[in-house]
């Protein structure tokens, strides 16, 4: 009734191969894009932007990045926080060294820098596998955070050791500030939305193309993949590069657009790595939609808990954070037991049910 594919015939290969082959899905996708790009910027205010929408968009990029590495290529990484810090500090150095540079170039360059660092730390993945690698990525996490904390060149010798984002424009002919105190909420939102749209489009097409199939072959069994002709060096390093590119952009946006000022140990610590990992576990490993669902869930959960426990039941905030730990931990275990493919799989099941509704067969 609500979800139909009847009468939906593909007559060409390109029609058959598109991301949303079912008309209903496609129109829903266009509708979401339209609302996100045209309607929301007019309705948005500071509260909605800062507490929900901008963090959701930024974490969605990080989740897609980690999902490429962990969900598609099977290499578990606990160094996401460290790589996000690389993005943030690159953008800071670029912003202060080249005041004329616009934000789009800065953010992209930060991604490129992070990709290079990611490849460097990904090199051991050719020898180390499974959770040996997971622990090895902890080296990246702790070393990078320590480095940004201790080497004064990275924070321009400021006394506090913090970095803060100056005001910069959207693009070189669009004089619209997206960072700094004068940036409007809708401008920040649109800036992040643009990145999310382009990056998820690229990710979706990468993962269903030949690169993505190589990644998945490596994930499913690397020796077998090597025997059928997948080059593990190329597959693993591209996964690290692409993943770090995404994570770096997300880290840069988190600093420049969302927070504005950052203390590296606090913002990009190991907890951030786990946050993003939880997003992809809850959302669904190996799914772009899952990255969005997981990011939305993990951004909404603290807000919802605060509404429920602090504002409604009158508990204090410390208790509510403790509850958050318990609930997140329990949910992680619950999802791994009941539905290892996460919210994305639940969504697919729901669609399957809706397709048949109201008839059960």
């Amino acid at each position: 009734m609500f979800y139909r594919e009847a009468g939906d015939f593909s007559t060409t290969y390109s029609e058959d191969n598109q991301t949303f082959p079912i008309k209903f899905d496609r129109y829903r996708y266009y509708l979401v894009l339209l609302v996100g790009a045209v309607v929301v910027p007019f309705l948005i205010n500071d509260y909605w932007a800062n507490s929900l929408l901008i963090p959701f968009l930024i974490y969605a990029i990080a989740a897609i990045g980690l999902n490429i590495l962990t969900g598609y290529c099977g290499q578990v990484s606990l160094g996401t926080g460290g790589f996000m810090a690389v993005g943030a500090y690159t953008s800071y150095k670029l912003m202060t060294a080249f005041p004329g540079l616009d934000m789009i170039s800065i953010t992209l360059l930060s991604g490129v820098m992070t990709a290079m660092v990611g490849v460097a730390f990904g090199l051991p993945s050719l020898r180390i596998k499974g959770f040996y690698l997971a622990v090895a990525t902890l080296a990246a996490q702790f070393f990078l955070v320590w480095m940004f904390n201790k080497v004064p060149w990275f924070f321009n010798y400021s006394a506090s050791g913090q970095i803060s984002a100056p005001e910069r424009d959207f693009f070189y002919f669009i004089n619209l500030p997206v960072t700094g105190p004068n940036a409007e909420a809708w401008a920040k939102y649109l800036f992040c939305f643009l990145f999310v749209f382009v990056l998820s489009w690229v990710a979706r097409n990468l993962t269903r193309g030949s690169v993505g199939r190589q990644w998945m072959a490596i994930r499913d069994m690397d020796i077998a993949a090597e025997i059928i002709g997948v080059n593990p060096l190329k597959a693993k390093l591209t996964a690290f590069a692409v993943s770090s590119f995404y994570v770096g952009i997300s880290g840069a946006l988190l600093f420049t657009v969302y927070l504005g000022a950052v203390e590296v140990g606090e913002v990009y610590g190991i907890t951030k790595s786990f946050l993003v990992l939880f997003m992809i576990i809850i959302g669904g490993l190996g799914s772009i939609f899952g990255s969005f669902a997981g990011a939305a869930f993990m951004v909404l959960l603290p807000v919802a808990l605060k509404l429920l426990l602090v504002d409604t039941m009158g508990l204090d905030t410390a208790l509510s954070t403790h509850f958050q730990f318990v609930i997140v931990g329990a949910l992680i275990m619950f999802f791994l037991i009941v539905e290892p493919h996460g919210l994305a799989r639940l969504w697919a099941l729901a669609k399957e049910k809706l397709r048949l509704w109201p008839f059960p067969h």
């Binding site: 080296a139 702790f142 009158g314 275990m333 037991i337």
Partner: protein, 379 residues
């Protein structure tokens, strides 16, 4: 002897003793990993939880006090009377004397019926007993029981349902478990730093200080607590090895570690062995938590210190108990010497990452660790 060398010696000795602590946490990882193939990220939080529970029992804290107070508007915090409160001792002495005198006089004069005597005895004695002063030994015993209960719950509600999953899924489940347990620990006992004292010796060891001063002209500072930790760790490791070699349960554990299916087919209950192993890991976590807790207070950073057991494991190999110990010592000495020699040049605090980077570099050359079994992969 030049001063630098003596300093280096002191740093090495302290590094070695720190390494013992790392090895202690790593041991818990190895136990679970060998028997069930689960890489238990929650080991550090288990140490935190065990130490918190021990402190809570010793001090008679009411579990979930904060939550209960917030919901019911009460002000509970401790069981029993506070020994520091005004009039505590006079009250305690009077009630104790009353408990002695009243029944005796009652019996002698036969004026009070036996029922009234019992009632009085109960009231006075009860008041006195209700002062919560748990010595270390029963508190530790109670904590061990709680860790065993925890092992059962974890096995029953989580890992029983994850049998046969990929190792990496199990690993992520233990990360979830770590978060869950941390939240529960905070809810139960609060998140403040607690002092833990189970009667272990503290302070600088005078004997070493004096002897080295006489021999070298400079007294080495070595903490008594570290020495005690090293001895306890040695005893723990030896008893664990003896347990796994010479007891029936230990043999079952080794059989399961060797081959799940074969162990099942000769009638070993996997479930039982796994609960056993998680309980043992819980006890090891308790020991580690007590050591670290006595050293620097029981607090959240305890679980981060435990994270450092991971590079220890990578050096030693995930499946080897001697490996965990040697790895712990290498990391302990390595990071202490690195911080001593190179740390001041590059800004200090290198012990945050040195262990991980060392393990990373090491693994590139020997992916299975020092003592790990050779990794054989088949399609």
């Amino acid at each position: 002897m030049p001063d630098q060398l003596i300093f280096a010696m002191e740093v090495t000795a302290n590094g070695l003793l720190n390494g013992v602590m790392y090895a202690l946490v790593a041991l818990g990882f190895v136990l679970i990993f060998k028997a069930s193939g689960i890489f238990n990220y929650a080991q550090g939080v288990m140490a935190l939880f065990a130490a918190m529970t021990l402190v809570g029992i010793q001090e008679g804290r009411v579990p979930f006090a904060h939550l209960i107070n917030a919901i019911f508007g009460t002000h509970v915090h401790h069981f029993g009377f506070d020994p520091n409160a005004a009039l505590f001792w006079p009250f305690a002495i009077v009630s104790f004397l009353a408990a002695l005198v009243i029944p005796i006089t009652a019996l002698l004069t036969k004026r009070v019926s036996i029922l009234g005597f019992l009632g009085l005895e109960a009231i006075t004695g009860g008041l006195f007993l209700f002062v919560w002063l748990v010595p270390a030994a029963p508190a530790i015993l109670l904590t061990v029981l709680i860790m065993i209960a925890f092992a059962y719950l974890v096995q029953r509600f989580v890992f029983k349902h994850l049998v046969g999953q990929e190792p990496i899924i199990l690993f992520m489940a233990t990360i979830g478990l770590a978060y869950f347990l941390e939240g529960v620990s905070d809810l139960m006992w609060g998140s403040e730093i607690r002092n833990l004292d189970v009667g272990l010796p503290q302070g600088v060891n005078d004997w070493i200080d004096v002897t080295t001063f006489e021999a070298l002209g400079y007294g080495l500072f070595i903490d008594n607590l570290d020495i005690a930790a090293a001895i306890i760790a040695a005893i723990l490791v030896m008893s664990l090895i003896a347990y796994s070699q010479y007891t029936k349960n230990g043999r079952a554990m080794r059989a399961v570690a060797d081959d799940h299916q074969a162990a099942l087919s000769v009638g070993i209950s996997l479930n039982y062995v796994w609960i056993l192993v998680w309980s043992l890991a819980g006890i090891v976590a308790l020991v580690a938590g007590v050591m670290w807790g006595s050293k620097s207070g029981v607090q959240f950073s305890l679980s981060l210190i435990a994270l450092k057991a991971l590079p220890v494991l990578m050096l030693g190999g995930f499946t080897s108990i001697p490996g965990a110990i040697v790895g712990g010592l290498i990391i302990g000495v390595g990071e202490a010497l690195f911080e001593f020699a190179i740390g001041p040049m590059i800004g200090g605090a290198t012990e945050n990452w040195f262990a991980y980077v060392l393990a990373l570099v090491f693994l590139v050359f020997r992916p299975q660790g020092l003592f790990g079994e050779k990794i054989i992969e088949r399609v």
